[in-house]
Symmetry: none
Subunit: 410 residues, 2 copies
């Protein structure tokens, strides 16, 4: 058996999206409809009814990991997502390169969305050193102002407030222990020391001298936020006995997949943007299955980004590209031996422009499902789907159809 | 956005109710049907499938508070419901005015459902004093034999057995620590002392001399039961960031609402009985929304009372009054900006005359829902509703459609 989980980020919508229809209803999606016709559908609450999911919590939940138990914060997934080595107990942060004045008052939270010098900054910041013995510091730059900081050592805590104040004109705050514990106080002291070090290291870099000459804000400090301890979370292989790979582009989603033990595989030319050639993800996924992988998780980001920008036409066009992706799977998977689940990680309506708690459609195809009578893939059609409504756990349901689950009890 | 939660207590029924139909099916309810036609419906398990809810636990669950975590006992809500000031850690009891002989053997658990002298009794009982320093005693009479007792102090416990034996001819039992803890033993000693004090205080009141002359049972003791510590429960505003008010009449429901931080607003002439002019609750609710409130919880009690009395005609007539309430909302809410959810807190079938675990219909109207194809509001129609079936959490689902929820994760 083979299994594919295809997630269209921000898939669901509302009647306010486009002329009284959701974008999914408005889009021309013959392949999605064929998927619904061949398969069994239902409504999915990514985390639960009345829970408004983040992308991180919803993915954990869809993979069968209760985020109330396993979610510690976004930093972990960002660090994994940009390829850092993270181990159980490490404390991870997302960081921004930012601009501060001599009193550490924030001038620009993103150093002018700096588009250069990431390598120079990353190399310089290898000098960061913990003020306390036995704690290892790792820093990696990502795109633009983004990066991640990882602390490795015994008894560190991720229960820390952000150093990023999310506004300008105020002094960069110090990280503080959110639970008053000794380990959080200790970790806060280390982080605050590293932030001051980063300012000393970065202030006079040649990159910044040049930027000042050009009238651009220097990248002269790192602001860590989203502190999170990598929890004792079993990998997908440990939990279900099945290994697999992830085909996607967004760092967060790559990060969630890597945190759960899936290896990242890059498809040709994909970007994570709405204009990404996502058909190549379908091709890559089929190639991975043909090369022996059992399970591929395909993540498609664009619909969510379009909806965050309140752009219905953009979301409709992207959903039509998702339709092409599904068309490729319909033609190229070995349907005697494969199951595919298509769903979203949450609804992102055009008017609201952010995630909502509304459920999303879910359809599964494959030889072991019992089909229903739907002929359309949409939020409304899925209300009548044969799977009814349930919360999270799409991967265990998919793996169940694939005959891969361990018995609970005897 | 604005949101209304309308709860018809004991809404659901069974085919044994009335000529092979539920009361809801038998009642003439054109407005409820229009609500279903405009909206999206589903089946709600107030607490969970196969859980037979009390009114207190079901309301907590519907508001998104897991009663397994937050329910400590009914006393808290009774005390809140009659307007007492209760704070975290206080121990609350429901009390009966009762009749005992000189050996404290119970003659009448409700002192003949005493219909007079509540003020005199309440005033006399202000003399109650804790035998232990640092514990404050508060007593308030309600209607007929009902009242509430609140103990305020450090390290008190609500894990106490009832002083009320729920039968006559036996001696009033002493409160006992249900968990053997020191704080429960201490609190039990205080309560038992207060019960003896109440007998001394009440025995010779002029009210009771008169009642004895009239051949009526004297109200000469209080019997506390339903001990409960007010738990560390976040208010609706703390939990969801939205404040609101409650329009209702029954003390328990007012109590639940106040315990969750909703202010009580009285509608003209309402009584909590089956003959209450509940249309005035709809008018009051719309008035509160127009005056700037974001959220109104409207509670309608009568259908449940009729069903407890095994009176199908009474329940059918009351449901037709609920239909008028919904008709008023359909006409008078600003439907571009409002969502309304109508459901019950449990089923109360006519033959059984008490709460059952059967699910209840739920319908939500408003601009952000995706409608289904129903044309009727009933238990049977709701089986085909577009929301499927879920447990509790109606308020977070309603607030989700209103774009009011905080994101869980990022």
């Amino acid at each position: 058996m083979k299994a594919v989980l295809a997630i269209c980020d921000g898939l669901g919508g509302r009647p306010t999206d486009h002329d009284g229809q959701t974008c999914l209803q408005a889009a021309d999606t013959p392949n999605l409809d064929e998927l619904a016709e061949r398969g069994v559908s239902g409504l999915l609450d990514p985390v639960g009814p009345g829970v408004r999911p983040g992308s991180d919590t919803s993915h954990l939940s869809i993979f069968g990991y209760d985020p109330n138990e396993f979610y510690t914060g976004r930093g972990v997934f960002e660090a994994f997502g940009i390829g850092m080595d993270v181990e159980r107990g490490d404390v991870c942060f997302r960081t921004n390169f930012a601009t501060v004045d001599d009193d550490l008052v924030i001038q620009d939270r993103r150093a002018g969305r700096i588009g250069e010098g990431q390598d120079e900054l990353e190399e310089a910041l290898q000098e960061l050193e913990s003020p306390e013995d036995g704690v290892e510091v790792d820093f990696k730059a990502s795109t633009e102002h983004r990066g991640a900081l990882v602390l490795k050592g015994d008894d560190l805590s991720g229960r820390l407030s952000d150093v990023d104040p999310h506004e300008t004109g105020v002094k960069a705050p110090e990280a503080e222990a959110m639970d008053g514990s000794e380990s959080a106080n200790r970790t806060a002291d280390i982080v605050n020391n590293l932030v001051r070090q980063s300012h000393s290291i970065m202030e006079d870099l040649s990159l910044n001298e040049r930027r000042r000459e050009e009238g651009k804000p220097p990248a002269n400090i790192i602001l860590p936020r989203g502190a999170a301890t990598y929890p004792n979370i079993p990998s997908i292989e440990e939990r279900y006995g099945i290994d697999g790979v992830m085909v996607g582009a967004g760092a967060l989603y790559i990060g969630v997949a890597r945190a759960l033990g899936l290896e990242f595989r890059k498809a040709k030319g994909v970007t994570g943007g709405a204009d990404s050639p996502i058909i190549n993800k379908a091709k890559k996924a089929v190639e991975e299955l043909e090369n022996g992988e059992d399970f591929v998780f395909v993540h498609m980001k664009g619909a969510d980004s379009c909806a965050h920008d309140h752009d219905d036409e953009c979301k409709i066009r992207y959903l039509e590209k998702v339709d092409d992706v599904i068309g490729y799977f319909l033609e190229n998977l070995d349907w005697d031996e494969s199951h595919l689940a298509l769903t979203g990680d949450h609804t992102t309506p055009i008017a609201y422009g952010d995630h909502t708690s509304d459920p999303v459609p879910l359809t599964i195809n494959g030889p072991n499902i019992i089909g229903d009578d739907l002929e359309e893939y949409s939020e409304k059609a899925a209300q009548k789907g044969g799977m009814g409504r349930f919360s999270g756990d799409v991967v265990p349901v998919l793996f169940g159809f694939s005959n891969w689950l361990e018995k609970f009890g005897e």
